[in-house]
Symmetry: C2
Subunit: 214 residues, 2 copies
């Protein structure tokens, strides 16, 4: 069944304005505004070397971009200190902290590398690129070489090739990374809350096979 | 403490090869290969109109890209049927299914719109753009207008402006979207498992304040 929805009201959404506008015409749908973040984002720490000093920034706007070669992309506000390091060295790292690192991770989103030595919180190491600092305490780190910069009005989107990854035996089950052992954090906005990964819900590319005969 | 890691072994990672290569030189770190997916991805359904017919594709490679105007980006394999619709209409939708929709959602990742009428599984509606089909059963849908296409070797990365969003009162708490009511799915690869969002872990931009004096 296909229907056309006349969306009469579009509003900008922020942390203050409640959602009250009714979208006319379709089954009780209402607008959540345009600036919507409400899906679970992975919580990561973006590692850069800025003027010779390692820095780490909390980052939730991240996704895989290309399958082969493997690339990852991240949206970084232009005002961030990290931008200097990415653009100077053309390298960065993506570190996945465990839920046990919640306070240090959140702190990295509260203060700027301009003002604070965030690297002092961690045991920092470098891989083959030499200018992408990584965090030893993180269960998983990706070392990336910048390939493409997409300049957007407020945020640059950096696409980098994954050159190497670093983990430890204790995060594996049957020789594969195990999300329950990595125990990462998720973030929702604008309620600004961290969440853990919850229960197993099913097997992908499998559970839907029951519908294949229909 | 800063150390240099000599990464002697970099391997391609897939579903078959176990992780056995030892990365020399730093605190027991080993390689997880380059093609790493092991973080929780949001499970979405990408809505497109292909040759006049609505189609929905399972999509996990997605992130917010720009803050203002609000844009979202998604990595889509070039071979997918959805590519035709995005490039013809320059519109698409992002739909967030609830965990209750796991079978239909997974099915959308198992079959191609070339061969199956996936829209028949859902109650489909359109918003103001007119060519971005959305799923009424999904707790949240975003209607997007294509702004930028980044062509990568195997996947195009489509950046679209969020023109409108659609939800329902029952997914709100105190006038805000509530992730526990939306109850979305997460995906990890290459173990190919779906997960629910788990327990609340803390407040973002807050729980790290305890470290501010250090």
């Amino acid at each position: 069944m296909i229907k056309r929805l006349e969306c009469l009201v579009t509003t900008l959404f922020n942390n203050v304005l409640p959602i009250t506008e009714q979208v006319n015409g379709y089954m009780g749908k209402i607008s959540a505004g345009r600036n919507v973040f409400m899906y679970p984002m992975p919580v990561t720490l973006l590692g850069t070397l800025v003027e010779g000093k390692p820095d780490f920034m909390a980052l939730g706007w991240i996704t895989r971009v290309n399958a082969n070669p493997p690339t990852i992309g991240c949206g970084v506000g232009r005002h961030h200190h990290s931008v200097l390091g990415i653009e100077m060295n053309r390298t960065f790292s993506i570190n996945f902290p465990s839920a046990e690192m919640i306070e240090k991770t959140d702190y990295c989103g509260l203060v700027s590398g301009k003002d604070a030595d965030k690297a002092a919180l961690f045991d920092v190491y470098y891989g083959e690129l030499g200018t992408a600092p990584m965090i030893a305490e993180c269960p998983l780190s990706l070392e990336c070489r910048l390939e493409i910069t997409v300049e957007n009005p407020t945020n640059n989107f950096y696409i980098g090739e994954i050159i190497a990854s670093y983990t430890e035996e204790k995060y594996l089950t049957n020789h594969k990374l195990d999300i329950r052992k990595i125990n990462p954090l998720l973030l929702t906005m604008p309620d600004n809350r961290y969440w853990r990964v919850g229960d197993y819900a099913g097997d992908a590319w499998d559970i839907g096979k029951t519908l294949k005969t229909k």
